[in-house]
Structures are given as C-alpha cells and as structure tokens.
C-alpha cells in the first residue's frame, strides 16, 4: 500500500503468495529456537498471582521491547462470537478508569515509543518498544489495562467498523485470503481452528461491548498472561518492577485448561475451488493436518520442520528445483510448516502454474515430488543444508530483540517452555534423514489434506446462479 512499494528478492523468499504467506511467515518465527552457545542469557520467573515473566537481555542499545501475551486466541472463543478475541484486542486501546481513552497511546507518542498488538488462534499480544528508562511507565500502563478497561458504545461501535474495514482489506478484497478461509474451514472438521482469526463477517457485525467485556473478564487475568521483556535490562532490573506493577493485579478468574474439541482422524481427500474474476494468476495450495510441537512425539515436529525446509524453502528446495527449474511447469512452488501451536497444525505446500499448465497438471507434478520424498527420503546434503539454515536462523535472531521476544511469547502461550526454546537447535541437529522420510510418509497423506484451487472462472456448469457480493 505504500506508494514506494519495492520488490525485494531475498535469496530464499518466494514471492508469489506474498499476501497469505507473509502472515504465515511471521508465525513461523514462532518456532522455538535459540542459539546454543553465545545466545542471550534468558531468565524467567513467576509472580505470586501467576503471571510469568521472561527477560531476554540485549545491551547493545538502550532500548527495550516490552510484550504482554495473553493465553487466549480465536480458538478459545464461544460459538457464535467469532472475532471477539481480535475485536477485544482493538478495544484494549480504548482506555481505563485510571487512564482514559488515548492517554497510553498519547504518552507513547510523546516519548517516541512504538506500539501495536496482534491476535492469533492461540494468543493475543500487545507490545511497546521504548527507550529503556520508560519501561516502568509502560509496565504500569499495561498492568492497569489488564483489568481496568472501560468501554462505551461511543468508542466500541466505530471500532467495530474499523475491524470490518480490516476484514475488507485482508479478506474480502483478496481472492487468496478468501480461498484460505475456505480451506482452513474444510481442513478442521471439529476444532475451532476452523474459524478465521478475524472472525466470520456476519458474526463480527453483531459483536457488542458486553461480548467483549465478558471475554475480557474471563481471560485477562495475571494467571493467564506472560510478559516478555527483551533489551537493555537485567533480571535484577525487571523483578522489582514486575512485582510493583503486575504484582499488584489480583487474579480475577480461573480460565481453566485450554481443552478444545479435537479433530477426528481425517479420512477423506477434500478439494475446494474458488473463482474470482480478479484472479490473474491461478494457484494451488494444499494443507495437511499435522501434529504441532505440543502434540507431536519427540522429534517429530522437528522432523516436519526439516521436511518443510528441504521440500519447499528457497531455490535449492525440491519443489522449486523440480517444478520451477527442471520441469518448468510452475512459476513458483514451496512448502511451510509452523509447529508453534497448542493443537494440531498444518503442513502446507503451494504452486503457481505457468500459463500453459493446468491446475490438475501442476497438482500431479507436485504429488510426484511428495511421493518421491516419502518413498526415497532425502539426501545427506539436503539434510545438512536444512539444519545449517535452521540453526543459523537462531543465531540471526539474536540480532533482533523484537524477534526473540516474539519467539518466547509464542512458545509460552502455545504450551512450550523457555528450556524447550533453548534446546531447539540441538533437537534440530539430532533429526535424521529417516525421521524426515517417515514424517513425509506419515503426515503427507492425501486423505489428511485439503487442496485449494484459485481460478478466474468457475468450472463449466458450476457457476453460482446468484453470485454473492462479498460485502
């Protein structure tokens, strides 16, 4: 949207699904990882009210990234209220009894702080990036809005319109995103991951202040939150501050265990097609239901991470090399896996065909690559390359305090631990070629998957009689 949008060609980044995959890419950063030797000296502690605090020192510049993560996401919403987790995230900026609307943001705007917030299926997070001396102030503001939120129709209703415009921008205006919604819903037969994080439009339209406050009172409580502070601070700095600010917030509810309806064993190959006259470049996506770090057997999620890298990360990957470079049937192809979730996740593959190639043809070519990897496994060179890349990612992450804060926040709100994050590079190093082949055999079975076709025109005789407008 910026007028000076530039195309950037990273050596490994494939561009075609920029819109959908950009969001996913952020999430894959959630994979637990950290450098093994010279990494930051991470520490953590828990306050008496149950709030967990993680401290990630980075003393290069006098700046801190302060994040609070609530263990609450779209998968925890009551039926019929899809989008309430995200709507509440927006409403958290509407002020409290002590700090009326705008004061927190105005204060940040005055000191030169950055702020934002985001919602996913398993968590809702808020962050500020400020000069280190302002840390006590942002902690006090954030502790205050954990329980002090005040809402009125005067600020709730315009904000609902804002969210509907966000929906328009992210989903309604984007054929890729609309296909993605349908695929996710087709993949999950029983689990609430089937719902879009932003919500179904017809339900967002009806969300109210009362819905938001009920959700808020139940889930925004210190025993349901993790604070991550990365930057120019030490454990000794943070501990008394945390006691004084967050420590003074009483636990006000017991959200309970996060037990969601689980998926039955998938047994059918699913195919969805979405046509939109604006599709200039057809594409294929496929999602397989796969275990996450939380539900996988030891080593299995790590093997899936390596598999995604070998199969579909960058120009040396199988899918790119075979479909794009050797056969020339695709303009782009790749794979991804993001194991940082509370419940089973998905393993994705995608391809965009050359103009003279049909989607069934590209699907057949894709299937041949997947079959080969399940049958014959991967080479030692492929294994080494993937591991090198993934372990290096953990080192590169040390350059960015915000990235590190995000890794720990994601891990701790999806059932993982600081120790598990620290041990991730070693567990990646331990993955064997056989484990990768077995992961492909076990999890990349077509009856576990949904395949999506994005096309310009409906197949013959299948055009809807009353095409629906999407707003």
């Amino acid at each position: 949207m910026t007028p000076t949008l530039e195309v950037r060609f990273l050596s490994r980044a494939l561009r075609i699904f920029a819109v959908t995959l950009a969001a996913l890419a952020v999430m894959t950063n959630g994979k637990p990882a950290q450098a093994e030797t010279s990494g930051p000296n991470v520490s953590h502690f828990t306050l008496a009210n149950g709030l967990e605090v993680v401290v990630v020192p980075d003393h290069r510049v006098p700046v801190v990234t302060h994040m609070i993560w609530y263990k609450i996401g779209s998968a925890d919403e009551p039926p019929g209220k899809s989008g309430i987790a995200h709507f509440l995230e927006h409403l958290m900026f509407k002020g409290t009894a002590k700090n009326p609307a705008g004061r927190f943001s105005q204060t940040l705007a005055t000191i030169g702080g950055q702020e934002n917030a985001f919602t996913s299926t398993d968590y809702t997070a808020f962050f500020q990036r400020v000069a280190r001396e302002h840390l006590p102030m942002v902690m006090a503001f954030e502790a205050d809005r954990m329980t002090g939120l005040v809402l009125s129709d005067a600020n709730v209703l315009p904000e609902r319109d804002v969210v509907l415009e966000e929906y328009n921008m992210r989903v309604a205006n984007s054929p890729e995103a609309r296909l993605g919604e349908q695929m996710t819903s087709a993949l999950y037969l029983n689990h609430p991951y089937a719902k879009p994080v932003i919500g179904w439009r017809h339900e967002i339209e009806k969300l109210t202040s009362e819905d938001a406050l009920a959700f808020y009172r139940r889930f925004y409580t210190p025993n349901n939150a993790v604070v991550v502070i990365a930057g120019d601070v030490t454990l000794e700095d943070v501990k008394p501050l945390a006691e004084k600010t967050y420590g003074a917030v009483k636990r006000r509810s017991e959200p309970g265990l996060r037990v969601r309806p689980q998926e039955p064993e998938p047994t059918a190959i699913r195919q969805v097609t979405l046509a939109d006259p604006r599709v200039g470049q057809p594409s294929l996506q496929r999602s397989y239901l796969a275990p996450c770090y939380q539900t996988a057997k030891p080593g299995e999620a790590e093997a899936l991470d390596v598999l995604a890298s070998v199969l579909g990360s960058g120009s040396t990957s199988r899918l790119y090399r075979i479909l794009v470079a050797e056969q020339g049937v695709a303009t782009n192809a790749g794979a991804y896996y993001s194991g940082a979730s509370l419940d089973p996740t998905r393993f994705g593959v995608f391809a965009s065909p050359q103009p003279n190639v049909s989607l069934p043809q590209i699907e057949a070519a894709l299937d041949a690559v997947l079959t080969e990897i399940a049958d014959k496994g991967i080479t030692p060179e492929e294994l080494t390359r993937a591991k090198t890349r993934m372990v290096a990612d953990a080192v590169y992450a040390q350059d960015n305090q915000a990235t590190l804060a995000r890794w720990y926040g994601t891990a701790l709100t999806t059932g993982s631990t600081v120790e598990s994050v620290l041990g991730w590079p070693d567990r990646i190093r331990a993955v064997s070629a056989d484990a990768v082949r077995d992961a492909a055999r076990t999890w990349l079975q077509k009856q576990r998957s949904v395949t999506g076709y994005l096309v310009k025109d409906w197949p013959k005789n299948e055009a809807p009689k009353n095409p629906e407008k999407h707003s």
């Binding site: 007028p3 290069r60 000069a131 309604a172 205006n173 200039g280 040396t316 794009v324 305090q401």
Partner: protein, 452 residues
Amino acid sequence: MTVGLLVLRRLLFPGTMALAVALAFVTTSRASTAVERVVTPSGIEAWLVREPSVPLIALDFAFRGGANQDPQDRPGVATMTAALLDEGAGDVDAKTYHERLENKAIELGFEADRDHFSGSVRTLVENTDEAFDLLKLALTAPRFDSEAVERIRGQLLSNLRHQATSPNEIANREWWATAFAGHPYGRPVAGTVESVSAISADELRAYTRRVFARDMLKVAIVGNIDAARASEIVERVFAGLPAHAELAPVAAAAPQGLGRRIAINLDVPQSVVVIGGAGIPRKDPDFIAAFIVNHILGGGSFSSRLYREVRETRGLAYSVYSSLVPLSHAALFMGGTATRADRANQTLDVLEKEIRRLAETGPTEEELTKAKSFLKGSFGLRFDTSTKIAAQLVQIQLDDLGIDYIDRRNGLIEAVSLGDVRRVAKRLLDGGLLVTVVGRPQQGLASKSDGG
C-alpha cells in the same frame, strides 16, 4: 499458530517512512554505535559500526540509479536485474550459486526502487569470505544464463498477472503514471507484462555495466570486525567495478494532475485511495519542519490527525497514513487509505478537509511539542539491530547528510519553531492533490474516462 492470519491492530508502513525518516540516532552515545569512516586503497568509502556482541556481519550497499535508469521502452529492467543477480555468476551456475549460499546460511538480497539499486548481505562471521566472494561475483560477473532469465521472467510475469487486478497496485500505478506522465517516475518499477516479456539478457548486462560503478556506490558494514578487516572486505567486493557510472540524465520533475480525482472501476468491496502532491526535497531547509508537519498529520503513531479523524472517531478505515517521499528528482507528499465503497466519498472528504485545515491553521503548540518529543525519542528504535543500522547508514549517505548527521539530527528537530511548522504546513499541504480511487463506482467520483 499457523492456521490463521496474524491480525495486527494497525498496519505500519515502514517502507515509505524509512525513506524520509531514516535519520535519527540513539541519544545515548555508545561505543557500539559510533560510526567510523573507512576508505579502501582504491578510494571506496564505507561506514563501519563495530558490534562485538552478535556473531554476524551485515553489509548494505546502494548504487544511485534504480528503475529511473530502465530503458524508456523497457520498464522493469532494474527489477529483473535484482531478481537475477543471485542466479549464477562467473563460473558458478545458478544452482551451485544457491547451494553455496544455503550451505553456509548466507542471506543475500538485491532490490531496485525508483532511484537506487541496493543489496544486503547477512552472514555468520565464520562464513565471511564465502559470503563476500559470492557477492563480488554477482556484482562483477553476473551470468544471465538463458535458463535463469526465462525462469525468473516467468516468476516476474506471474507476479505482474497477480498484481494486475489488485486495487492497491492499480491505484498506485495510476497515480504514478498520471503524476509523472512522460518521466521515468511514471513507469512502473516492476515493469509491465509487455516490457518484462521483451527484456533481453543483453539489456540486463548493459544495465549492470552502466549502473554498478564506484562513483555511485554507498556502503555500510556492521559487525564484529575492525576497520582494517572492513576495508579489506569492501575493497575485495567493490574494487573491480568501473570507476564511473554512465547514468542517463533524469530531469527534475513535479507531480502533474494536481486537483484531479481519478476513479477506476473494480468490483471489490473495499475501495483503495491514493493521494499525493508536491513535497519538499530532502536537502531543502524546510524538510525537517515538513517532516514534523507530516508526523502530525498522518505519520507513524496512533495519535495523528488522520488516524483520529478517519479511523478512531468515524471508523471509516483500518489504515490511513501520509508520508514524505523525497525522491532524487522529485519531492512528494503522499497518503492513502481504504474504505468500503459507499463511504469512499465521505472518507476522501475527511482526508482533504484535514489536510486543508492543517495547511490553513497549522499545528498547535502542543502538537509541535509532542511531535518533536516523539521524533527525538524514537531514534534508538531505528538502530537496535545490526541489519537496521547498516540500512540506515546507507540511507544517510544516499541523502548526503554527512557522517555527523547522527549527532546533529536531534538539534535540527529541536530548532523547528511554531512559526516554521505553520509556514511549512501551508507550503507542503496547500498545493493541491492528485487522487486515485479504485473500487465500485460511486456518484460524485468522476471515472477515469471523464475525469478532468
């Protein structure tokens, strides 16, 4: 988790802002952020920041002359060159080149914008030699093998087909094509289906020979190395390039069509609005005041006037912003938003009214104080990673602000008076706007054919 999109409260627009803002620095002066000037034996200047605590090296560079050097009938040459530069060089074919990068987890990227061709490398310290050997090969001996050219052409065409029906893309292309008709800035940076289909390997080679030269080069390097080692690396990578570029002259230009509203019909639920007018050049004495004015109007915080009036109070849009875009040969003020079709007129009216109001009455004393405080205080956030520091140091060099700019910059902000911002608000915002709107047709918006 993986299954959904990540939903942010607000989109940020770092790309545009970086161009304009780029220039702050941590107020606390620390050894690790002190900038050293390094000059290599062949006379190449590079700026170095030593950073001992992270085991990586980040190098950024840029040549002046980006897409504005595309041949007139071949927009997209710079972009295509950027996409092909890591697809084989010297005696290393594309496959091997990528394998060598991947084997050492070296991150290498190239990009072209309107005025620059730039690149960045990130490597673990132990792989320094391999990383910079590969970069040198790419810059001095790119192969442009026909296999790679056709493969990347296919990808670029696929992107262009994809973008051809994107309302954002259409609104932006139309804005630039109208504002800079007949000027290199009017041509799309990524090219068109027609031009990208026609670009030859010879044209790509010719571009690299004309543009990749030492006199157009700016380099910054950040990492756990000393000046001698930095000099050795920079010399090794860049000394083999020609001393002088052969850039085609680009005329200074001002945006045309101010006062027009162009509506383009597209059946999407949300209309996309792009606005823009004349800005203030980076070297103009009023630039810093203009930068403050823009921050107050629609810059990067949750407290700007546009954010408050368009989003917070009326719920008209999720995203609304404005920015200064000081290009090398034109200075622009731009902005944008997106809103449902039946509110597009209302939203545009609010945008234009706020811009007019700020032009006429200027910022308040309180707004000025807060804006200065924000702009000074947010310095450090631009310099908290090696990668960001390298990018900022290249930008400061491209803007020709001097190695001491970092120390001077807060003083420049502080020196701006209420009289300055009131005068400059009028200068910046009173010149009329060209508006493009892409969405379902609405009464009151002229369509493209009858727009005047």
